[in-house]
């Protein structure tokens, strides 16, 4: 008998939710018709800024899923100063991220020392075939266009120390 007020309260909760949904609409959105704006710093897809990459392999090694594949070869670039020796630089042959494996932890973005990887909020890149989820260098480069400018730092946050 003691439970009855609680039971009635429980019924009231569902009934009130129903009336609220009637009046104000639901908390969900009808996805392909309406889209929710992703929050800032949303982790949608990882973009690659190829010119910054030095093939240091840090991202690939820190990836928990081993979903980043990097291949590179050394090339001789013209020397910086007149009469100097030509420099050896790493030229990127392949930079693939397999989004069928990726778990969006973002460690690769954090660990990149040269700001070559960025988060983009784009999320609509599902494919009918799982093989197409392997994004190669050029596709990852295209995502760069969707990367938003870095948001303002919050008040009182430390500036990055040089």
């Amino acid at each position: 008998m003691a439970q009855i007020p609680g039971m009635i309260k429980g019924l009231a909760v569902t009934f009130n939710t129903m009336m609220r949904t009637f009046k104000n609409g639901s908390n969900t959105v009808q996805y392909p018709r309406e889209k929710e704006a992703p929050p800032i710093r949303a982790r949608g897809v990882i973009a690659l800024h190829e010119d910054n990459c030095t093939s240091c392999m840090l991202c690939s090694r820190s990836c928990p899923d081993w979903c980043i594949y990097i291949e590179a070869h050394k090339e001789l670039a013209p020397p910086r100063r007149e009469g100097g020796k030509p420099r050896a630089v790493n030229k990127l042959d392949r930079f693939d991220i397999d989004y069928a494996l990726c778990m969006y932890c973002g460690i690769c973005v954090e660990v990149c020392p040269f700001d070559a990887l960025f988060w983009s909020p784009e999320y609509e890149y599902s494919e009918p075939s799982i093989a197409d989820l392997l994004h190669d260098k050029s596709k990852l480069g295209e995502w760069m266009e969707t990367v938003p400018a870095a948001p303002e730092l919050e008040v009182g946050a430390d500036k990055k120390k040089k």
Binding site: G10, L11, T17, M18, S26, T28
Partner: protein
């Protein structure tokens, strides 16, 4: 008693009408219940919209679902007892069709006018237990077997309070014929005021509550859905069923909800009738013929109200544990309904 809208219909025509009417009376409520309550009301109670794509406002979703189920592969487990496996869902659905046969929809619009209508309804509703046990055993799956045994235990336990709750109505009406019970409610009066007739939900409120709880348990709806508890038994006795065999179970579940609600509305809310004093009718013969058309609509409305109650409770409460479930039936509902019978009988004799 063979004039529908004052048109005389030959016997074969009446029989055909009854069979078609039976199909409509089972399938139409089932479809409506699934769309209005399972798809829409449940979603709204969870602050979402439910199916929206098929047809305007998702109204064709039901047909899409049926189409999906019909084209699925009909899988039967290797070790299953195939014949029994195939028979089980049909027995469950058959119980529903037998059940609707006694529900009266109007002064002349009934399928059978059984003298022991209430008793018959309670009897055939228990046939579905057999189908459930058969499904559980023949699937050759321990989850199915456990689910089937739980369902049987639950359905037998809640059959008793259901019968006992109905006894109060039978005592008060003095008949087991559902048509006569409708008449007794609509032509009756409470202490001389006959403005709303005498719907037994007022005088038999305890019986009504017990009956609705027992119906909830017989339908294995949410607070009592231990037999198909998906977190421990996958889906109970339905685990191995797919395609149209699952569809039959699904239709059976919601059609039975509708038919039980119709029986409850006949027993406690006055059935197809409106209070006879509104139109100055006194007996069954003086009821106007248009009630044969209005009656089914009235029954349908009352059914929707009761199914709303059932579904509301289903969507609100968490599941009972097995021992709580049995204890509730044997230690709470049965004593209450026995006391209700006693009080009703004493008052019936006293007045």
């Amino acid at each position: 008693m063979h004039s529908l809208l004052a048109v005389v219909i030959p016997y074969w025509g009446q029989s055909l009408l009854r069979v078609l009417g039976g199909l409509v009376a089972v399938l139409l409520p089932a479809g409506t219940i699934v769309y209005v309550f399972l798809f829409k009301m449940m979603s709204f109670m969870q602050s979402r919209l439910g199916p929206m794509e098929a047809g305007p406002y998702g109204s064709m979703q039901l047909f899409a679902e049926v189409g999906k189920w019909l084209q699925k592969e009909d899988i039967q487990p290797d070790n299953a007892d195939k014949r029994i496996f195939r028979m089980a869902p049909i027995i469950v659905l058959m119980s529903t069709f037998l059940l609707v046969a006694v529900v009266p929809f109007g002064p002349d619009a009934w399928f059978t006018n059984f003298e022991t209508g209430v008793f018959y309804a309670l009897a055939v509703s228990s046939i579905s237990v057999l189908g459930i046990l058969m499904a559980g055993w023949s699937s050759a799956n321990k989850y199915s077997l456990l689910g089937g045994l739980r369902a049987a235990g639950q359905l037998i336990a809640y059959e008793l309070p259901m019968v006992l709750a109905v006894m109060g109505v039978v005592i008060q009406a003095g008949t087991m014929n559902l048509q006569q019970i409708v008449l007794a409610q609509n032509a009756g009066s409470i202490f001389g005021t006959d403005i709303v007739g005498n719907p037994y939900v007022l005088t038999q409120f305890v019986g009504f509550v017990v009956f609705m709880i027992a119906v909830q348990a017989e339908l294995t709806q949410a607070p009592f859905d231990m037999p198909i508890a998906e977190s421990e038994l996958v889906s109970g006795y339905m685990t191995e069923y797919s395609g149209f065999r699952f569809l039959i179970f699904f239709i059976g579940e919601f059609a039975t909800a509708g038919v039980f609600a119709m029986i409850a509305s006949t027993l406690f809310l006055g059935g197809w009738g409106v209070p006879f004093s509104w139109f100055g009718w006194t007996s069954m013969d003086s009821v106007a013929n248009w009630m044969n058309v209005a009656g089914p609509l009235i029954v349908f409305t009352k059914m929707m109200v009761l199914v709303f109650l059932i579904m509301w409770i289903r969507f609100s409460y968490p599941r009972f544990r097995e021992d709580q479930l049995q204890r509730f039936a044997w230690k709470v509902l049965i004593p209450i309904s026995l006391a209700n019978i006693m009080v009703t009988a004493v008052l019936k004799v006293a007045f």
